[in-house]
């Protein structure tokens, strides 16, 4: 069973050290996402249609809203460090203006600088100490990975934007999904509400957002679940019902396959860092 070793939330987003031996299905995040190998067997991650290695020499960089999945090699768990970096935090702390934190390439071949940052950051995450150092190290690691992802790229699309909102039907559906997190919404009904057939709606939604409506809705549900687990005293069962699940078991299945570990496990290890924003 996959386990959480340490989870830290802060102004930067979140950082987690997981022991994973179960697949994480195709999902997406609002944040920029980095997956690093720490120990154990190698694994793979599928992102942007490419299969990327997660091993001692390779990490994976996933841009915001890019669908991706994680695949362990076997039963032995891989220990990995995963970062979810808020684009605004990255923007505040960098001297450039790459708002979207869009990575140039998913596949990163690690250099010694990044490996050094990675080792130190993992130690700090396990210590739960040195929060000021943690934030600056986290930024250095993210920035080094961001720059590496664009190194050698012939065309620089860093300023490229997502045009998720340029079709009014997609815009409306995004709003409807947002308003109905926690309700049992049928995709058929959603498509009808924006005046499209289901196949046309799925095609248009994917074209503009890069993800399917289901993945988008799951992302919002995962966000809400994490927020509740971290900030409320509700039981996992209550959170499950509030999010529209029929039982705690189905919520646990959903959470494990989208986030990687069980919700109770997540709550057990997660803590909030109080690092300044932006770093001074």
């Amino acid at each position: 069973m996959s386990q959480a070793i340490a989870v830290c939330h802060g102004e930067f987003g979140r950082a987690a050290l997981y022991r994973l031996n179960k697949e994480i299905i195709t999902h997406a995040h609002r944040e920029g996402h980095l997956i690093f190998y720490v120990d154990g067997p190698s694994a793979t991650c599928v992102s942007g249609g490419r299969t990327c290695k997660v091993d001692a020499d390779h990490a994976v960089a996933v841009s915001p809203w890019e669908p991706h999945s994680y695949h362990p090699a076997g039963e032995d768990p891989q220990i990995c460090l995963v970062l979810y970096i808020k684009p605004m935090w990255f923007l505040e702390n960098s001297s450039s203006a790459e708002y979207a934190l869009k990575f140039g390439s998913e596949d990163l071949t690690l250099n010694e600088e990044i490996k050094g940052h990675l080792n130190r950051l993992t130690c700090l995450l396990l210590d739960h100490e040195g929060e000021a150092k943690f934030d600056s190290l986290l930024f250095a690691l993210t920035k080094a990975c961001f720059d590496l992802s664009w190194a050698g790229s012939e065309t620089d699309y860093r300023g490229q934007i997502y045009d998720r909102f340029s079709d009014y039907r997609v815009r409306r559906s995004l709003r409807l999904i947002q308003e109905s997190v926690g309700e049992d919404m049928e995709m058929e009904e959603l498509a009808r509400n924006v005046g499209l057939s289901r196949p046309h709606f799925f095609k248009l939604f994917k074209q503009y957002t890069g993800v399917t409506p289901n993945v988008y809705m799951n992302t919002l549900r995962s966000e809400r679940a994490i927020e509740e687990l971290l900030n409320s005293d509700k039981t996992v069962t209550d959170i499950a019902f509030d999010l529209g699940f029929s039982s705690q078991a189905s919520f646990t299945r959903f959470f494990s396959s989208n986030v990687g570990i069980a919700p109770s496990e997540y709550r057990r290890v997660a803590h909030v860092s109080n690092g300044a924003f932006p770093m001074m």
Binding site: K86, P87, M88, A97, Y99, A100, G159, I161, Y162, D163, R164, F165, S166, Y168, R171, R172, L174, R175, Q178, E179, V181, L220, R224, F277
Partner: protein
Amino acid sequence: MTLITYPSRVHFADGVLEEALYSELERIQGSSFLLVFHKDETDSELMDRVLGGLPSRTTQEHVLFGDTTNLREQAFEIAETPVQPGAIIAFGSSKAIEFGRKIRYTIDRASGMRPVLFGIPAIDGLPDPCHRKIESKQAGLPSVIICDPTVIMGAGEGESREAAMMSLIRCVEAYLSATYNPPADGIALDGLSRCLTSLHKIGEKVGLDLCRDVMAAGLNAFLSQEKGVGPAQTMTQSMMTEAPNAQRAAIARLVLPGVLRNRAIDDQKADVLGKVLSDVKEPLAEVTRRILSNVQMPRTLADIGVPHKALDPAAESVAGQSGLTFLQARAVLEEVYEGA
């Protein structure tokens, strides 16, 4: 002594509206918002986009307005209601953002709580500083400004031209203001250059490049007005109380050249401004007149619909400002009232 304050966080990028709004609202961790917009904006694309940028599980109150003549009184009425938003999100017209500013001020006065003000401008840009300084300084500038050029992609040629002209007038007056504010001067000069680029392109080219320039010029004009409002704008504002449906840019463009001929102007500044505006050395008033008259708009104040009785109060409103006397200001207005 000069105090220079630029307390706003500005986002400026194509398509950034929703992500920037979401991130900023998440950053302030507010959960209740007051949306301020003109009634014409109801169910518009911009409104859809603003709603799309709000985090889920938040509460929203909407303030629609149609009458723009008594915003101050309307703001006081809102402050007396139990509405205590963590943030005011004013979007669309400059009047909406001005209204948001007034609402924030009145809530602050009534309850001591100052909500964060978001300004999301459309084609007519951001509002002038308030004539009552107390509302235009720290209490009034938006805390967050989100400029997304894609918002104005659908603007018409006339609207774009008016916006660029108004920005040019604001930048010229801000730059010439005697107040010592080097950052505002630099911003004004960049704004001017963008205005000129835009005015050349409007009608010939369409696309995001043009929208970016028009919006950047509007933002720069707004920020440069940290130095205050110039006499041409003050007189324009005064005349608009008698002709509320008139186009602001149409009035201001007639008034500015005459003001430049009569007001006190630092030689060095006139020289710099002349170089930005034209390759040919000619008097500043002439250059601006030539640039501003290149646009199809009414040629006199009378054609615009300004009543003659509006001239005296307008001239009085600037008497003693920037070296202008009442008689000089009055003569400037008379000259463009029915044409020389």
